[in-house]
Amino acid sequence: MRIFHRTLVASAIALCAAPAVHAQELIVGFTRDADTLDPANHRNRETETIIRNIYDGILTRSSDMQIHPEIAESYTQVSPTVYDFTIRSGITFHDGSSLTIEDVKFTLDRVVQEGGMGNGQSSPRASLMGPVESVEIMDDTTIRISLSEPWPLLPAMLPHQQIVSRAHVDAVGSDGMATQPMGSGPFRLADWRRGDSVVLERFDDYYGGATGIPEAGPACVERVIFQVIPESASRVAALLSGDVHIINELPPHSMNQVNNSPNAQVMAVNGTRSFFLAMNNQGEIFDDVLVRQAVAHAIDRDLIIDRILGGTATTIDGILSPDAFGKNHDLPSYAYDPDRSRELLAQAGYPDGISITLDTEGSLRDTAEAIASLLTNAGITTRVQVGEGTLLTQKWRTQGGAKEGDMYLSSWGNSTLDPFDIFVPTHRTDDRGNSAGYANPELDALLDEAGVELDRDRRGELYQQAEALVNADVPYIYLWVPQDLYGVSTRISNWSPSPDSRINLHRACLN
């Protein structure tokens, strides 16, 4: 009875104190839960963000988007289709076993080979490895990746694969891997409360990660919690009240509030996602370049960036982000000039203006409605139609099939900042993401040449030419690349956001 009484008093005292946050417990207010903790069995960005703290890759990216060897010591390109990676020694998995060259091969085979996951299943991440044909062990420290055709993107894409332990996968199976992760990363899993949080603990024997990024060693904080808070206002509230220390997807309109708070600040990083308006180039209205130019002159991008995006986006005049490789920085800009729009429309045979529908998904509704009112103001009467993302994809990304619809507000991500996986799909004739239905053989030839060109400078030039070519045709209205915004507690040091939206926490400290 007395013990019970004492517990009662103790708990009462504990409750009176401010919510006791462990000094070394870093909590991330995160938009969503991981689908799985198996690095080879998902296709989801947020899931990878969490997994990346448990598992390391052959290569990694620093927050300035440079590629660094991580589990690899170094790598060389032997021929256009062959890469050799030298693997570091002395790396241990969380269970104390050593990471060997066998584990690296096993990991890549598991992803690349058909049926590699067991039970006849293949990894949904296979396509992220492009045309990888085989993975061979050359000697105890060297592994060779061979491609079926040249693919300059391989080093940029390898950070998307994390190395697993062969013995562990054999022991728990692919089913077990979903909930029992065991990697060589800075943190190990302590608890996964589905839908609520992923709790990670420091791995004390961590080898230190990439040597190219300074301050290596075991993680600074003892524990990391990814706390799922889907509502953006709730995430901001949790940050301001000190419940969490880092939040992702900070809405632009909350920036002032976070910056005015004594215990938090906004951290912004240039994102990699390009926003654009796709016009149906095969449609009756937008097959005329004059009409497309009229649209370009009708949109005041700076106004929308200033008012809706909190000034946190950079305008673009081609599909590539200003930070991307091969970006043409001398593209002409279509200035905001609604009178010019009306003139162009009249020239194109529409003196009374036109009426169109603008498709978009729910999350872009605000922007779409602002664009619609600017267009309407310039004689292009625009009605916004909101649909589910997956339906719009079917409607617009027809890969050459017939298209219905006038205009589509959308975006394309480019986490490698290499033109290959944004320029080609959105602009090559009949390609996967060519929502505008743009077809230009001259451009196709340029893109094809650049895709296999191994001379970096020459490759960059080709993409610059391509951007200039497209800019004159305006198949799309290129809008902006927004910054990714994070709210960060002032107690956090040594962490900065990364353009690929990863939150790597092994160097972050909590003061």
Partner: protein
Amino acid sequence: MSVIEQSPPVVAESLFRRNMAAFMENRLAFGSAIVVVLFILMAVFAPWIAPNDPYATNLFFRLQPPVWMEGGDWAYPLGADSLGRCILSRIIYGARISIFIGAAVILVATSIGILAGLAAGYLRGWVDVVISRLVDILLGFPYLIFAIGLMAMMGPGLGNIILALAYKEWVIPCRVVRGETLVTRELEYVEAARALGASGRHIMLREILPNILSPVIVVATIRMAHVIILEASLSFLGLGVQPPTASWGAMVADGRAFILESWWVSTFPGLAILLLVLAINVASQGLRDAFDPRFTE
């Protein structure tokens, strides 16, 4: 024949008058009914009442506070939303959506419910089995999940919302009608009509229906309040009417992202839902007390 045909409606009518009188005496319920009527008038005359165009965006007035706060302006009495649109005007126009959808769903659902319920309760046999089983199946679905699934299937739009809600809503009046019909069909005057060779259709629609209408109307008004909240919930989840149409639920949903800095964006449309639904609920409670003898105390 004429006597049989005439007498029940006459009884129903005088009963209706007496009940109406009872309802009028309930001041709270009567007052609420007036509030509901005011909402309807507001919806009908929205273009004349609204101070601004509810669809006109002006990014320079984005998130402007209500008039009584610092930075407020009489141009936007309840402030402006994230696109600089007048919140008051949007609430006034939003009444159209809420009331129209509420009324349309109830109308469709009650019509189907009456027909199905009468058929099941009067014809019995396999008709009853089929309808009752269908009702059981639909009751097994969680309401909102069923509606969300249907909206995903059919796509957004005003007509589809009405359908998505009516697909399940009809079950409720159907159960009421079926139960009442089962009792009423055994009453003497119905038996007499049957003995005189009246057709099943005649008996169901002319003899039984007028006498079971009171509980159906009471249930319909109560359910209408519920349907308005459901529509708002669907809009809240992004499955409602197309923009820029103002829907109260969508306004709350859009405003919740700004609630830390600009509370007015989602607070006022939420209050509008609350006020309308509360008024309908109080009025229908009064109707129930007055019309449904089983609840008169």
